[in-house]
């Protein structure tokens, strides 16, 4: 309930401010230009693009925000759900700032523009954005952060590549953004590492959550003989149930959904944002944000620790042998030379994208714009 109350309060404060003082900028109340944006903040805000209980992306954010609340009992944590990726996002963030927030987490890919404009107007407030990449100069009070979800997807690919009998895996995705492309490629390469003949067939729905389109996509893939389905969608139960009903296996995303696929569940990539959020808050509160790892396009993975993406529990179809192979691969991903995209990597046209012996950085993988060999489908760009 505190969610709605705090949102309402934020609105009330914003209205009162307008009435009493006209269009006074709330930042005047805070310290200004001290080069330590967000230091000693008493309030932290989180905006989410969807509902806080979607069993997926936004729920993971919400749970992360609750972990922050638990770790910092004196901190007030504001959360706002269903904030669209447009001007509304900027307005909502400004309302949180008016209520005293000096650290804001803008947690959807499309919140970046709003986050940057709010950061520019409020130099003493830190606005960090989840999942996107700042391509221009990074302002002192901003940055992006994300996990490397393609690492656990590579591991899940090992489970899928071992389990498939048709050598056809299916991937339902929303939009061809680099994050998704890297997931699909890593999944295929994980599968290839144990099964050289395996293909991953991709179908896009052009939506983060349209269960009707997901059903159509799943049906088409199953008709094509796919026997393991996975996805990059915000709501996941339609595809998982379509797989289970037709006797296919499934690799989850966002949440452990083994409950609705007791037969076909293999594993999946699920979230644990708590440690990363907590560390960002600590850094900001200490006044150490400027120049820190978070004042950048920060990516965390098996190489750096606290990857917010962890592997979901295994289903009945995953053997001890496969689990051992996955554990070995996870250790390898954490080493210098380990990567789902350790060369040689060829794209669909057979062109070399990573030379033999090459290991791309997290930053390289963040701008991936091609499908690797073995992925079936084409990128609308």
């Amino acid at each position: 309930m505190s969610v709605h109350q705090s949102t309402v309060r934020a609105l009330a404060v914003a209205c009162a401010a307008l009435v009493v003082a006209g269009c006074t900028s709330a930042t005047e109340a805070g310290s200004s230009g001290d080069g330590e944006p967000g230091k000693d903040t008493t309030t932290v805000g989180f905006i989410m693009v969807g509902p806080k209980d979607d069993f997926g992306y936004n729920q993971a954010v919400y749970e992360g925000s609750q972990a922050v609340e638990a770790a910092f009992p004196d901190l007030e944590v504001l959360t706002a759900e269903n904030v669209p990726e447009d001007d509304t996002a900027a307005t909502t963030m400004q309302q949180m700032i008016d209520e005293g927030a000096e650290l804001i987490f803008a947690t959807s890919y499309g919140h970046l523009d709003a986050a940057l404009s709010v950061a520019e107007e409020n130099p003493d407030v830190v606005v960090v954005q989840q999942g996107n990449t700042i391509t221009d100069d990074i302002p002192e009070n901003s940055g992006t952060y994300f996990g490397t979800v393609y690492e656990p997807m590579y591991l899940a690919g090992i489970a899928a590549g071992t389990a498939t009998e048709s050598d056809k895996l299916g991937y339902v995705y929303a939009f061809p953004i680099p994050q998704t492309i890297a997931n699909i490629n890593a999944f295929e390469r994980g599968a290839q590492s144990v099964n050289p003949d395996v293909e991953t067939i991709t179908v896009s729905t052009s939506s983060w959550c349209d269960p009707g389109k997901q059903q159509a996509a799943a049906e088409s893939l199953l008709d094509e003989g796919v026997d393991v389905l996975t996805q990059h969608q915000d709501c996941t139960s339609t595809v998982i149930q379509a797989a289970e009903k037709s006797g296919a296996m499934t690799v989850g995303y966002h949440a452990d959904a083994s409950e609705i696929a007791p037969e076909g569940w293999l594993t999946g990539a699920v979230w644990d944002w708590g440690p990363v959020y907590t560390d960002i808050v600590q850094t900001v509160v200490d006044g150490d944000f400027v120049g820190s790892a978070y004042n950048d396009n920060f990516r965390v993975g098996y190489k750096t620790g606290t990857n917010p993406f962890v592997l979901a529990p295994y289903g009945p179809g995953v053997s001890e042998e496969t689990i051992t192979a996955i554990e070995t691969a996870q250790e390898w991903l954490g080493t210098e030379e380990g990567s789902p995209f350790a060369g040689p990597v060829l794209d669909q046209d057979g062109e070399v994208r990573v030379e033999e012996g090459g290991v791309p950085t997290y930053a390289d993988n963040d701008v991936m714009d091609y499908f690797v060999q073995g992925v079936i489908g084409n990128l609308a760009q």
Partner: protein, 306 residues
């Protein structure tokens, strides 16, 4: 399966929710009321069916709940436009946004909850037919019920006294008044019946097709249904064909992608709407002349008589 069978079969299963809503809107418009809130009736129908399905474990009780919810929302529309003379466009759209808000609010606990939905039931013998079997007879019971809805609505509309009264309310409402009938009651009844059917469409989407509840999951299918009624020139049979055609257009994208055709996904997403515009262009003025007469008064912004 071949591409053609895949697309046709996907068209029938994906088009069924649109068909229910389109037939419902036909009933409503035949009586002289446009309901842009059809999308909203589908939404409350989807949530009603899903929630009742989760709580009772019986998908048929879900359909009943979805139909009731869809009808109730349409009843509000009927009251506002028929009794209060409110603008049909404003009322329909307002109710849609109300439905969006209410279903997001009350639907939150059901997101991600598993439901006992409708399972595929292959019709004996018929499902073994080549092409026709997989396309028409390897689906769920609520979809088969849809096969009966169109003939049933057609019979009621064109072969019964109730249907005659309804159509007269849409063509020459004055003559009903002369004969002592209440145009208001007839119109409210027709709008509500339309909402019931739209609610069943929502129920199919949530508990038979996608097996999930998520806010705004109808995603424009209700508006496609409203467009479809004009597209079909107010004939239930053509609504049936049109809904499956739309379903095929939606199924075409994934089917081509799964077969690695070199085609842009965003272009494929536009197919259903390009199709609508093409048909509207071809039919042109014919859609206007086929329109129920009282409906034209709505387009002319004059209050419907009665």
């Amino acid at each position: 399966m071949s591409l053609v069978v895949d697309v046709l079969s996907g068209g029938v299963s994906g088009g069924t929710s649109i068909m229910y809503a389109g037939v419902g809107e036909t009933v409503s418009e035949r009586a002289g009321v446009i309901n842009l809130g059809t999308e909203g009736s589908m939404l409350v129908g989807a949530l009603g069916a899903y929630a009742a399905g989760v709580e009772t474990g019986n998908p048929w009780i879900g359909v009943l709940a979805g139909a009731t919810a869809g009808g109730a929302l349409a009843l509000v529309h009927g009251y506002l436009v028929v009794r209060r003379g409110a603008s049909q466009f404003a009322s329909g759209l307002s109710l849609l946004f109300l439905a969006l808000g209410l279903t997001s609010l009350f639907g939150a606990p059901y997101v991600g909850q598993p439901v006992v939905g409708f399972d595929t039931w292959e019709v004996p013998l018929l499902s073994d037919l080549p092409v026709l079997g997989p396309v028409l007879f390897q689906h769920d019971p609520l979809l088969y019920l849809g096969y009966l809805v169109v003939p049933l609505v057609w019979v009621v509309l064109f072969k019964t006294r109730v249907g005659l009264l309804g159509r007269t309310a849409g063509e020459r409402a004055d003559s009903l008044t002369v004969h002592g009938y209440s145009v208001h009651a007839i119109r409210i009844g027709a709008v509500t019946a339309g909402g019931v059917l739209a609610g069943m469409g929502g129920a199919h989407l949530a508990t038979a097709y996608a097996n999930a509840w998520f806010e705004n999951m109808v995603a424009g299918r209700g508006f496609i249904a409203v467009a479809l009624v004009i597209f079909a020139t107010w004939s239930p049979w053509r609504v049936l064909g049109g809904a499956y055609l739309f379903g095929c257009a939606i199924a075409l994208g994934p089917a081509l992608q799964a077969r690695a055709f070199e085609i842009n996904q965003f272009l494929l997403d536009a197919v259903p709407f390009v199709l609508t515009l093409a048909v509207l262009t071809i039919l042109g003025k014919r859609t206007l002349s086929a329109s129920p007469a009282e409906l034209k008064r709505v387009f002319e912004n004059a209050p419907p008589s009665g």
